[in-house]
């Protein structure tokens, strides 16, 4: 266990190092000189040079990279070339928003996926199972922004039940926070739920075919109880993996929903950063997203090992 953990942690750290280098290198070829952009179009060459010095963009790339990565370790993402704002807190703020959104979306997804997937697996090759499987197929095929647009059109605009978008931090007003979270979480969660339902379905199907489930029934458990007591935990192992991967994908994929619902999350920050050529900001956001993906994968790996005694011992 410890060996495995050490190895995985090392791999994570090396990956993070490589990822940061890739991100940095890739974005440093971005067209548009940050100093020039920051100064606007009227800047004199001298002013640009001065600005470059202030930003440190006149230094060799390696030095800039080391400086940047050094800052990251202490949570210092630098200062935006464009707005002069400190990037770190900005990213944290936005990340919190995205995490709320994605977390709520995932919750919706799970609430949909687990019963839907399980039912359609249990009713495999029977009408209900086919219908449910069909429903999740259709769900997967719908882009989440379309779901968002339709939800807004219906719930917010036509029925005026909920706001059409926007964001209120939970600390400021919990009720309003929830009201504004609900629709985007649904848009994200319904579609994601359909995706997850498929995984749940196939893992439950696999588990249903397992010999030990037959053993459980031979012991006198009804099929439903056998599934609950012996099957679901086994099915959970692969689903957790998918969940982690999907969570990471969702963190990035939420950008479209954030756009539709005007939610100030990490995704919109990224798009704004790109539009403004705010290099350091983009770098920071991309790095945080990549970090999130890598760390999530790492956690999933660890969790996976913890869930399955076979792997625990093999470790």
């Amino acid at each position: 266990m410890l060996v495995q953990l050490t190895k995985r942690t090392l791999v994570l750290l090396v990956s993070l190092g490589l990822a940061s280098a890739m991100v940095f290198w890739f974005l440093s070829v971005l067209p548009g000189d940050p100093a020039q952009v920051a100064l606007g179009t009227g800047a004199t060459p001298e002013a640009v040079a001065e600005m470059q010095e202030r930003f440190g963009t006149d230094r060799p790339l390696t030095v800039q990279y080391l400086d940047w990565i050094g800052g990251l370790f202490v949570g210092d993402f630098g200062v935006s070339y464009v707005t002069g704002a400190t990037i770190g807190p900005l990213i944290i703020d936005r990340l919190m928003v995205s995490l709320w959104l994605v977390g709520a979306g995932m919750l919706v997804a799970l609430v949909i996926a687990v019963p839907l997937g399980t039912l359609s697996a249990v009713h495999h090759r029977r009408p209900l199972g086919t219908v449910l499987a069909g429903v999740s197929q259709v769900g997967i095929a719908i882009p989440n922004f379309l779901a968002g647009i339709l939800l807004i059109g219906l719930v917010a605009v036509s029925w005026r039940l909920l706001p059409a978008g926007g964001w209120v931090p939970p600390a400021q007003d919990p009720i309003e926070f929830l009201r504004r979270l609900l629709l985007p979480a649904l848009a994200l969660g319904i579609i994601e739920g359909a995706v997850l339902a498929r995984y749940v379905r196939s893992t439950v199907l696999n588990v249903l075919r397992e010999d030990f489930l037959r053993t459980a029934r031979a012991k006198g458990l009804t099929p439903a109880r056998a599934l609950v007591r012996h099957g679901l935990r086994n099915a959970a192992v692969p689903v957790v993996t998918i969940l982690g991967l999907q969570l990471a994908v969702l963190l990035v994929g939420a950008v479209v929903v954030e756009r539709v619902f005007v939610i100030p999350g990490l995704g919109s920050l990224l798009l704004d950063g790109v539009a403004n050529r705010d290099l350091l900001l983009v770098q920071g956001v991309v790095m945080v997203l990549v970090l999130a993906v890598l760390v999530l994968n790492y956690l999933v790996d660890v969790l996976y090992t913890a869930l399955d005694p076979r792997l625990r011992a093999a470790a």
Binding site: A47, V82, T83, A85, A164, E176, P264, A275
Partner: protein
């Protein structure tokens, strides 16, 4: 003389503004941030919520030339000495009155008494001198160069400041109505991007990046208290989201309709009033005069004649907007109807192209990725295709890439952008401007205008407008309308978009 032509640097701003230009009207909406937003019931609450499209990147308009900052803060938080009113007249604000010398070089400002900054410092002539000199020394945005003409600021007494210009300028006082005329406290400029200290009726309560700015009324305001105590300025990167928020009663006023096509939703709903005024924004189809193809006036004229501008208005701005024949909005005194110069006539256009030997023209049509520009560009492209011109659309991110590649580098054949700066016709006198229009006659007329008296100013501007129209220096697709939607609770919404600010003080409860 008319005012100085806008410095090339300044024009950066107009372009910048472009993305948010449709923000014409101030609208207010109550929104009490600390309580339930109560959007569904705005009337009961002191707050007001106004939706805008483009968000300020910081609170410091001295270093960031985004137009969203003065839109939110000028007049409301930072007050200038003078401002532009709805009729385009310059009226005093912090200057109780002012006098201009006969030669248009010496300006005497007599200040309001008892004005304090929100940090408690008094506002006096020292502050005026400080603010003006700071523009010259510390501001990094292009617009600051308009202050170069100031030779001296003299503190005559506490409430009397005298500004001396190096040369006469018709434009200087006008530019003092923009952000460069905002008054700062000498002790209040250290954290401008986070904290705004001005003399205005509102204070910044909270700036949530990517989302909103919350304003609260200034208890110690020297003037008349504004009608709404709490105003939330909310920013919607997506224009449809803005409309939807309005439809869902989440905001009280759309400061800038960016998705005019969706306006029909408001038309049939008596909860809403659509306010249509004019702006200073000319949507210009710009030609790069540095490119060989555009040296030939016939080619330029052919393009103008190939375009059915009515249909451009329809497709790009939902039919709202006005035809103009040159770079002058009808609100300017020197406006003249030039819409008949080079009217839509595709046959004539084709013939002209033939004559100029420019059939099968291929153009690099580099367009900022702003909704109206993209829409206009598609229409233009299709119409040009009809006369045999192949205009390849290349979308550039706005602001960064478009500013960099088109505006600064001049690497384009043709582009579309809304020029929202007032009096920006002067850019036709600036050969270094991105369209590189180099016409000595125009340049002379404009220079003369700034130096001369008011009559010369108007005369010359009218002349320039005609010349560039006939010369087809650009094509002026239409004048962007100032479109707003207000719900029935908000009144006094100013129709026209004048100046750089969204004046919250004129809003009323209904």
């Amino acid at each position: 003389d008319a005012g100085d032509t806008v410095d090339p640097d300044d024009t950066a701003d107009p372009a910048d503004d472009v993305d948010e230009e449709p923000d014409d009207d101030p609208a207010d909406d109550t929104d009490d941030v600390d309580e339930d937003e109560a959007d569904d019931n705005g009337a009961d609450v002191a707050g007001l919520s106004i939706g805008f499209a483009a968000e300020p990147a910081s609170l410091d308009f001295s270093t960031d030339d985004g137009a969203a900052i003065p839109e939110a803060l000028l007049v409301n938080v930072y007050e200038p000495l003078v401002k532009i009113d709805q009729d385009g007249e310059i009226v005093p604000v912090l200057a109780e009155s002012y006098e201009v010398s006969d030669d248009n070089t010496v300006y005497d400002f007599f200040l309001e008494e008892g004005v304090t900054f929100s940090n408690g410092d008094p506002f006096d002539a020292e502050a005026v001198a400080f603010s003006i000199e700071r523009v010259q020394e510390d501001w990094t945005i292009g617009l600051a160069s308009q202050m170069d003409i100031v030779e001296d600021v003299e503190v005559v007494d506490d409430l009397h400041a005298r500004v001396t210009l190096a040369e006469p300028s018709n434009n200087w006082l006008f530019s003092m109505t923009t952000r460069i005329g905002a008054m700062f406290s000498p002790d209040g400029v250290d954290g401008l991007d986070e904290e705004a200290i001005g003399t205005g009726p509102y204070l910044v309560d909270d700036f949530a990046r990517g989302d909103r700015i919350d304003l609260v009324s200034n208890e110690d305001y020297w003037g008349e208290a504004p009608e709404f105590d709490d105003v939330s300025l909310r920013y919607f990167a997506d224009p449809n989201a803005l409309n939807n928020a309005m439809l869902a009663d989440d905001i009280d006023l759309i400061g800038t309709v960016q998705a005019p096509e969706g306006l029909s939703q408001f038309e049939d709903d008596d909860r809403f009033e659509i306010i249509e005024g004019t702006s200073e924004g000319q949507v210009v189809l710009s030609f790069n005069h540095d490119r060989e193809v555009f040296e030939d006036q016939r080619v330029r004229q052919a393009i103008r004649q190939a375009i059915d501008r009515e249909s451009v208005i329809e497709t790009s701005w939902g039919g709202y907007g006005e035809l103009i024949g040159s770079m002058v909005p009808p609100t300017d005194p020197w406006y003249e109807d030039l819409t008949d110069v080079h009217p839509y006539d595709p046959q004539a256009a084709e013939a002209l192209l033939e004559e100029a030997g420019a059939a099968d023209l291929e153009l690099d049509f580099r367009v900022p990725n702003l909704p109206y520009a993209v829409n206009a560009a598609q229409t233009v492209q299709s119409q040009l295709a009809a006369v045999g011109i192949d205009a390849e659309i290349d979308l550039l991110e706005f602001p960064a890439v478009w500013l960099d590649e088109v505006f600064t580098e001049g690497d384009y054949d043709m582009s579309v952008i809304n020029h929202v700066e007032p009096r920006d016709i002067a850019q036709y006198g600036n050969p270094d401007f991105y369209w590189a229009y180099d016409n000595p006659e125009v340049q002379d007329l404009l220079a003369e205008a700034d130096r001369g008296d008011e009559e010369t100013f108007e005369e010359n501007y009218r002349e320039v407008a005609r010349i560039i129209s006939e010369d087809a220096a650009s094509d002026w697709l239409f004048l962007a309308p100032n479109l707003m939607v207000a719900n029935e609770r908000v009144g006094g919404v100013p129709e026209n978009n004048v100046g750089e600010m969204f004046d919250l003080t004129v809003l009323e409860r209904t």
